[in-house]
């Protein structure tokens, strides 16, 4: 049974489709859910939690239908929202304990597990301080602690690295990885920064404009999103035309720079042959990555729209 399953899931707002016929299955492990801002990631999570009704289609979490059994889903899922969600006027330990009780744990158990989770996220020393006095990084970590307090089967983390400095991001990713690996809790983590989360994920789901763009392993995705950056010394447009004629996806990048989708290793051969045939001096060739935003917005990508 997949952890999360969606069938033709659609959410329409006036003038925009937040989700557009999304069909996917998510298995256990740490799953990265990537997409540009506004791609429909948060909408998807809110539907999974039963906080938003889909316009059409169905979804289930841990075998429970998100509409009919929303409370059963919520019992078993931990949620870390993207935006501020912390009461500032109470202490860290009181907050996490209370959230544990709200998920059905008796007071003593909630207190114990709360303390354990605060230790896990590294807030043990600060647990009696008011949350209002926490730094951004600490706030982000206590958000993770509250999502874990009731020992969920699945964690839904919405942009957990948002607003953190590089060091804070690193710590948060490490925490997520430890949570997924050592605790054995399935994790779905969303991000608009692919490079950041792919390191900790087993598999990736990519969506754009509410449509599924990719679902599979991180390795395969990396390959799919790799590109070659070429610099030629003269007549880049003519060179590009030749490459296109042989079936490569080429994009001009001003001046003499070209970007070629690196579908497989045969691309190198084609470039070599064309360069040799037309005696075009290649002055640079290096592998780069698409940025997530451009990945789906260029005409060369799978689900491109105009």
């Amino acid at each position: 049974m997949p952890l999360i399953s969606a069938r033709e899931l659609t959410k329409r707002y006036p003038g925009v489709n937040a989700l557009d016929g999304l069909t996917l299955d998510i298995e256990s492990g740490i799953v990265g859910f990537v997409g540009a801002n506004g791609a429909g990631k948060s909408t998807f999570i809110r539907i999974l939690l039963g906080l938003l009704a889909p316009t059409s289609g169905t979804a289930s979490v841990l075998g429970f239908d998100v509409r009919a059994d929303a409370l059963e889903v919520r019992k078993r899922v931990g949620y870390m929202p993207e935006h501020d969600c912390l009461p500032l006027e109470i202490s860290g330990t009181d907050f996490v304990t209370h959230q544990g009780q709200m998920s059905g744990l008796p007071f003593t158990a909630a207190r114990e597990r709360g303390a354990e989770m605060l230790r896990h996220v590294g807030l043990h020393e600060e647990r009696y301080r008011l949350i209002g006095s926490y730094s951004t990084g600490m706030k982000q970590r206590i958000k993770l602690a509250q999502s874990l307090v009731h020992d969920p089967k699945l964690l839904l983390l919405d942009e957990p690295t948002n607003g953190l400095d590089p060091e804070g991001r690193e710590e948060m990713l490490l925490l997520i990885e430890r949570t997924g690996r050592e605790f054995g809790i399935a994790v779905m983590v969303t991000s608009h920064l692919l490079g950041e989360i792919e390191r900790v994920c087993d598999s990736l789901i990519a969506i754009d404009a509410g449509r599924l763009q990719y679902a599979g392993t991180v390795a395969a995705f990396t390959q799919q999103t790799q590109r070659l950056r070429l610099e030629v010394d003269d007549d880049a447009p003519a060179f590009a035309a030749q490459l296109r004629a042989r079936g490569l996806a080429v994009e001009a990048h001003g001046g003499n720079e070209l970007r070629v989708d690196l579908a497989d290793d045969s691309v190198y051969d084609v470039i070599r042959d064309v360069a040799a045939d037309f005696a075009v001096p290649l002055s640079r060739m290096e592998v780069t990555r698409h940025r997530l935003e451009e990945l789906f917005r260029t005409p060369t990508a799978g689900g491109a729209r105009g």
């Binding site: 039963g50 969600c85 009181d94 709200m102 009731h150």
Partner: protein, 294 residues
Amino acid sequence: MAEARAAGAIYDLGYQSYAGARYGRFYAIRTLIHYSFATAFGIGRADKAKSMPTLIVALVYLPALVQVGVASIAGPQALIHYSVFLEYSVALIALFAASQSPELIVADKQQGVLSLYLSRPFKATDYAIAKLVALVLAMLVITLGPQLVLFVGRIFVSASPLAAFKTEWTKLFPILGGTLMASIFIAAIGMLLASFASRRGYATASVIAFFLLAPALVEMFRSVTTGAIKRYAILAHPVYLITGFANWLFDIEALRRSAIGRADLPGQYYLFVMLGVSIACTAALLRRYRRLDA
């Protein structure tokens, strides 16, 4: 292995999953009521959050205690009547609703905590009910509490406490009924008004504005009308409603020259209007929260 254990080594047991009891929706509601009741008095919060509730508690309990103190010297006749005391506390109860209903529901919205609550296994309407019940219970502390002080005081300052209890105990019903109805009435209005605000300050202002404006508007309206319209108009006045209702409960004849006396309406009318307003406000509040659940 055995030696290490004997030496008291520390073991990393790794992650412990939770296999204990998990309670359902009603436990979550009860938890939230309990937590919000404490919030209403600033318990478990910074000192700043305690100042307003503490002030109001002092302002309702001190007069009651002083009354009992005076009566212990001057005799039970000197004690203020329950319904008069309730009328005295209406302004303070309204102030409590104005300052604390935002703490209960607007703070959660303002700080985003609501989205966490909604991801827990209970419904958005459960949240609203828990918050309303918590506010009503908190208001009972400042309405019912002082009345019970007066009640106990009246019994113990009398020459024969046992005899006093035998004549006085029937008053417990109107005491409970009056304070409960007044608390529900004001809490329901306060919560509904607060539910429209995006910031705590706005919510407080709107609740205070309501309890200042409604009486002022009613008085203005009454000054330009006559006859039956003028008499029935006092049912739109929150303070008259509570006083009229308390008079009826305690079987007191209002002063002939007072607005309530001159309106001379059947006592049940006050009850019906308060009940109706409370139900309507609660229904509107639930409706606002129901939309948050899919």
